[in-house]
Structure formats: C-alpha cells, structure tokens
C-alpha cells in the first residue's frame, strides 16, 4: 500500500497540471486565435459601445420594442445582502423560477399575464413562451408566433405598417438546424436592433 502513495501524490499533481492548467489555457489561446468573436462572448457593439451579447437575452419593457421571455433571475438585495431581489436578465446570476406545475404562485402569474396579453392583442392566441420564464433567465429568443403576436402593439407605437414589421420578423426568424434540430426562433436583441435601424431610415 505504501508504494501507492507516491503515485497518488505525484500523478495527481501531474495530471492536475495537464488537465486543469495546460489544457484550458492552451484551448483559450487556440480558440481565441481561430474564433476570436465567439471566444469573447459574441459581443455586439454599436457606436463603439457594447450593447449586449448576441447570445444573451436582455430586458425589454418599452412598448416600442419586441419583448423577450420572462426572466426569473435574482440579484443580492442592496439593503440586505442575505436576501435576494428580482433582477430580470441578470447575466451574472443565471437561473429559472423553479416553480412546479401545481404552484399557485406560478399559475396566478401566468393567468395575470395571459389576461394582459389578451387585452393587448385579442385577435391571436397567446403564445406559451411569452408567459413562461426561461430556464436560464437569459433566453435570447422567442418563437416566431410570439414575435408576430407583438406586431400590432409595435406598429401602433412606432407608426409603422404592420406588414413591414411582419416581414422584419420573417427575415429574422432562424429555422431549425438542417430543418430538423431545435425549434424556429427569433433573436429578440437582433430583431430590436433591426427595428431601430428601420425606424431611422
């Protein structure tokens, strides 16, 4: 048994150095050289300032923008560090609501949001992804139905024809990978950036 102690220490340290330092650092160098944009977090800059990441959702509350999913992320309470407060789309503390199917809080919240959305657009069925929180709280996407659902509201606020907005949504809809994997989706940040661009033209 004593002769197993030397390899237990030395092999552990050597393999730790290989897999815990050499490997991640080498991969950082290689990935940074081949895919610099992705390796740095797919950041989007506008007028020299970082406005977000193409992969990370951000909060949209203004009526003139397309809204994303609900987000249940939290942040430490500034008044009491042992507590947390709601902080939607906190990209430094991802997480979901973790409310179960028979949770009263969850079902009350959904009902309230459904009523609100029905009042906003009585003509279309409410898409389920607009009234549910995402798993990460940072979901960058909504379904094409959820984007189209919001077109009348945005058209009214921005005084743009609905048809033009619907075309924009179609243009920014990403289909399934190879027509098979995942679900059709619209990146909300990209869509809103395009929307701002279209409005200034």
């Amino acid at each position: 048994m004593l002769r197993e102690i030397r390899p237990a220490i030395i092999l552990l340290l050597a393999l730790t150095a290989i897999t815990g330092l050499a490997y991640p650092l080498a991969m950082t160098a290689i990935a940074g050289a081949i895919f610099p944009k992705q390796a740095e977090g797919s950041l989007i800059e506008k007028d020299g300032k970082v406005v977000g990441s193409a992969l990370i959702g951000q909060e949209f509350k203004d009526d003139k923008y397309f809204h994303g999913r609900l987000s249940a992320t939290l942040a430490p309470d500034p008044n009491d560090s042992t507590k947390t407060v709601s902080a939607p789309y906190n990209a430094a503390n991802s997480g979901g609501s973790n409310l179960g199917p028979t949770s009263k809080a969850l079902n009350d919240r959904i009902k309230e949001d459904v009523d609100k959305l029905k009042a906003e657009n009585p003509d279309a069925a409410v898409p389920v992804d607009l009234v549910t929180t995402s798993a990460s709280g940072l979901d960058p996407d909504i379904s094409p139905e959820a984007a189209l659902f919001q077109v009348p509201r945005i058209a009214k606020v921005r005084k743009l024809p609905e048809e033009q907005l619907r075309q924009l949504v179609t243009q920014y809809t990403q289909s399934r990978f190879a027509g098979l994997l995942g679900e059709p989706r619209v990146n909300v940040l990209a869509l809103n950036l395009a929307l701002d661009g279209a409005a200034t033209k």
């Binding site: 390899p7 290989i18 815990g20 991969m27 895919f35 390796a39 179960g100 949770s103 959904i110």
Partner: protein
C-alpha cells in the same frame, strides 16, 4: 408530440448506436495497453508520467490494492478542491473578485466533484473564480471520469480473466484513459463548442449598456474547455448556475444535440468494450439493448407529459406544452430528451429546469437515477452498476431452473450475489433515509421552494441525485445550507464508494475463478429472453423500493394537478 420531434429522438439514438463499435474498438485497445494512432505523440508523455510517479506499468494490482490506490488518489483530489475554494480570493485568475467559499459549501463541492456528482450548491458565475473552475473543477471532471472508466474496465477484466489474482493497474488505467480517450476528444470538442458560440476567455465580466439604457453585467470565462469534459465525462457540473440552459453553455440546437451525444458516447461504448474483452460482442449488444428499452420508455413518457403541459395551462388556452423553465431554442422535445439522457447517464447537466417539469415528466428523471443510472449510466459507473443487476438477474434465472448460474463463462456464486445486493441496497438507504430525516427536520423543510407534494419531490430529488452521483436538481430547493451541504456530501460519498468497493470485490473474486465453456444447460445471455429478464429485475427492484416515495411526490402531484388543486 410531433413527427419532427420523434425524428430528432430516433436520429439521436441512431448516432449513439453508430458510435458504439468504433469507440469500443478504440477503448479496448487503450485498456489492453496496445498502441493507437495517437501513441507516437502521447506515449512519451505517458512514460514520463509513470517515471515521475514511480509507476511500473507492467506490475498489476490485486483488486484491493487497485481500490486503495483509487481511494488515495481521491483524498488528494478533495484536498486540492477544498484548498482552492477556500483560498480563491488570494489566488490568480479571479477577475470578478470572488471571495472565499464557505467551509460547508467547499466541502460539499469537493466531495461532489471527486464522486463525479457535480451537485451545484455553488452558483458558478456568482461564486467561483476562473482558477477554481479550471484547476479545481475541470481537472476533477477528467479524473473522476477516468476513475469511473478504470473501475468498469477492472470489473470487466474480472469477467474476462481466468484464474488470475490481479485486475489491472489503476495508475495505468487512469493515465491511459485521460491521455488517450478524454483529452484528445475534448480538444476537438472544445473548438466545436467555441465555434457554436461558447466563450473561452480569461477576460473579466463585460458591462453592456442595453438598448433600453440599463446596465447588464455579462459573466464570461473559460467555459468551452470545461463543458467539453463535463459532458463527455458525464460530470454535469455547470460553469454557470443555469448549467446547459445558459446560452453561453449551450448556444444552439446543434451544440445541444452534440452535447447529448457526448453524454452517452463513452458509456454506451463500454458495453462494446465488455463484449470484446469477454470475447463475444453480442454480450455487449444485449446489455445495450436492456439500456435501450428502458431509455426509449423514459423518453416517451417525459416527452408526452411535457408536450401536453399542465391542466392549468390548457385551461387558459395555452398550447405548445409546458414551456416554464425551458429555452425556446430547444423547445419541448430537446428539453425532454436531454432530461432523460442526463439522468439515465449520471451526467446531471440540465438544459431545462427539472423543478418546473410536469409531475410525470419530472418523475422519469427521478426514476432513472433511482434505478441506479444503469441506462448507459455515468462513464464506467453505469457499466459496473448494470453488471450488478445482471448478476442479480442471472441469479434469479438460476433459482428458477435450480442450477448454479453462469455469466460469460463465470459461475455466479454466493459471494458475488451478496456483494451485488450490498451495492444495490446503498441507494435506498441513502435516498430514502436522508429524505425521511429532511422532511421531519424543520430547517430542512424551510428550504423547499414549492409547497405541497412538489416540495417533497424537491427533497427526494436532492438525495436521489446526490446518492446516484447525478448532480441535476429540482433546483428550487435551497441546498446551500449547513444541513444539506453536509448530509448531501455523505450521500454522495456513500453512494459512490460503497458501490465501488463491492463491485471491485466482485471483480477480484471473478478474476480468480476459472472460465468454464458454455454447456447445453447454460442460460444464453445474448437473446431477447435475457434482455427481458434483466429489464424485469431492474423494474421490480426499483419499483418495490421507490414506489412508495414516488407515490407521495410526483404521483400524488399528478392527481392533484388533474383535480385542479394548487399549492
């Protein structure tokens, strides 16, 4: 449920099965000590490691020495992780300025990573420095996976050898597994993941000014290199709190699909390694068939339940299934499939929040872990777990015909059956025992996020996941308390090592036995009857043990949901 959904599921199964033979062939060569196409590059490094470590690669170990070597290796692993977490504030690679992690959380996380559980009481981006993520967690992701595979190979050698006292050399198995199997795949895999959008940087978190003028701090880090081994080694501990649901940890539908394949790849291939080593690949395919039957059944139920959604959602006219706690880019099918895979395989990564699954949809992950994660299972751990059930099934078959049972040429006798039972009984002891304690201990009850039966399910899931070394969670439960950190660490430790030691004892005792050629009376273990028998034994064992607990949690919750009861 949609046609395109089922096509995704079948495509997934087809690719995993297609990988079994080539990976099994390659891994068999690695563990037989033969040269591979990577040997010209890696062999000098391998020899150098043996030289500094004082390992004689020709010297094989008795099963007990092999086990002790493995345990010693893990003592060091605990020390490294614990020390790094406690000291991270004063160590380099900490651009976010994370402070030292509390003692109980450090202890829980150290045990969690050496046992291949990777339970997340820590918050990832909000708790750990880049150094801890790399040197503490990434390295243990490799070594706990390599250990699992090494142990499975040692048990397989027990079956394939005849009249021998040794089962291999632990140091050689772990080193070869890390260098020849895990590292090369991870290097290619990391680059693929970065291409898909995963960050790989040592730079600090970025502050963005959102379109509406708010401030958003975006957490970054060396994510891809850790995620690659996290999935391949069925570790599952997330770089970020939201794990594989985080867009940086799983950016696209394609990255999601490849991650799912990588969870099963090595575990499924080990069935082929088994077949090759015992000299009949069909033995391996029979075991994979057992796994396949249980897997497809689980996927069908979860997919159906999630696609249906809840009665409350339906009453509001919301179609499209239960999207609470799921991401749009994955949708219902890829989220359901991922949940079944990750719990079948002891991975524990999640791309959707299991806590928000429907009652039945969330019950399948629970059952998967409670059955011992033998449906492919953790790398290595699934294989030796499944072989324990096979021993039991063979024993039952032997009782039926009144003949000493045999499996791949080895007589299965009292010692093997006792050891197999011992290993299997650890699961209910830890899962049901600790759940029972937690639900009558008021501070533990206060940790539940949901009221009613769902709160019970959260606690049951926590101990199930930790005992099974899975690491996924009904994450609403506030697990980062002294009670859950310490009892969880005990559950993880016992769940891992009290299964390993009996399994290794079986390996040792089988290796010493003579191999006997099959006769007319030998029960054939490559056919449908054998597959059905093993599936039956697994379901009956698991059903009898865990049904009462499931009845109090997900089953009663399902009935409550249908009766429109809310809590």
């Amino acid at each position: 449920m949609t046609v395109i959904g089922w096509i995704q599921i079948l495509l997934y199964c087809a690719i995993v099965v297609a990988l079994v033979k080539p990976l099994g062939w390659y891994m068999t060569r690695v563990f037989n000590g033969e040269s591979t196409f990577l040997s010209p590059v890696l062999r000098p490094l391998e020899r150098g490691l043996y030289w500094v470590g004082g390992v004689d690669e020709k010297r094989e170990q008795h099963w007990l020495t092999y086990t002790i070597a493995m345990l010693l290796f893990h003592v060091g692993g605990v020390v490294i992780i614990y020390a790094l977490m406690r000291l991270q504030a004063v160590l380099p690679f900490n651009p976010a300025g994370q402070s030292a992690v509390a003692e109980d959380l450090s202890f829980n996380t150290a045990i969690s990573f050496i046992t291949n559980t990777n339970w997340q009481n820590y918050g990832g981006e909000s708790t750990l420095s880049y150094l801890v993520q790399m040197l503490g967690l990434t390295h243990q992701n490799f070594l706990s996976a390599a250990t699992g595979i090494a142990l499975a190979v040692a048990l397989i050698r027990g079956f394939s050898r005849s009249s021998m006292r040794t089962v291999g050399n632990f140091w050689v198995d772990v080193t070869r597994c890390t260098l020849y199997v895990l590292l090369p795949i991870c290097i290619v895999y990391t680059l693929f993941l970065v291409w898909q959008g995963m960050p790989q940087t040592l730079g600090a978190y970025v502050d963005a000014t959102t379109l509406e003028g708010g401030k958003q701090t975006i957490a970054l880090g060396p994510v891809a290199s850790q995620v690659a081994i996290k999935m391949l080694g069925t570790n599952g501990g997330g770089f970020f709190n939201a794990n594989a649901a985080h867009p940086f940890e799983n950016p696209t539908a394609l990255s999601n699909f490849v991650q799912m394949i990588s969870i099963f790849a090595l575990g499924a291939a080990l069935t082929n390694v088994f077949g090759r080593m015992v000299g009949n690949e069909r033995q391996g395919w029979a075991i994979l068939a057992v796994m396949g039957v249980l897997f497809i059944a689980g996927v069908a139920i979860t997919y159906w339940a999630e696609a249906n959604g809840t009665t409350a959602l339906q009453a509001l006219g919301l179609t499209g299934g239960n999207m609470e706690g799921k991401e749009v880019r994955f949708g219902i099918v890829a989220s359901s499939l991922f949940a079944v895979i990750t719990t079948a395989a002891s991975c524990g990564a999640v791309n959707a929040m299991h806590d928000s699954f429907t009652a039945l949809g969330g019950m399948i992950p629970l059952i998967n872990i409670e059955l011992g994660e033998i449906v492919v299972g953790g790398v290595g751990a699934g294989m030796y777990g499944m072989l324990l059930f096979v021993i039991l099934a063979i024993f039952v078959a032997g009782l039926m015909v009144g003949r000493t049972p045999e499996y791949v040429g080895k007589k299965i006798e009292a010692r093997e059956v006792k050891m197999a039972m011992l290993a299997i009984l650890v699961l209910p002891l830890m899962i049901l025992g600790w759940t029972a304690v937690a639900v009558v201990y008021p501070p533990a009850v206060a940790s539940m996020a949901n009221a009613g039966p769902h709160g019970f399910s959260e606690v049951l899931y926590a101990y199930t996941s930790q005992t099974g070394n899975n690491g996924s969670a009904f994450a609403g439960l506030t697990g980062n308390t002294f009670f859950y950190n310490t009892t969880g660490a005990v559950a993880m430790f016992v769940g891992r090592f009290f299964m390993i030691v009996p399994a290794m004892a079986i390996a040792g005792s089988l290796a010493e036995k003579k191999s006997i050629p099959p006769s007319m009376g030998t029960f054939p273990t490559t056919g449908g009857l054998f597959v059905g028998l093993v599936v039956g034994v697994i379901l009956i064992m698991g059903g009898l043990t865990f049904f009462p607990a499931l009845a109090l949690g997900p089953i009663v919750e399902h009935l409550a949901m249908n009766a429109n009861m809310l809590f």
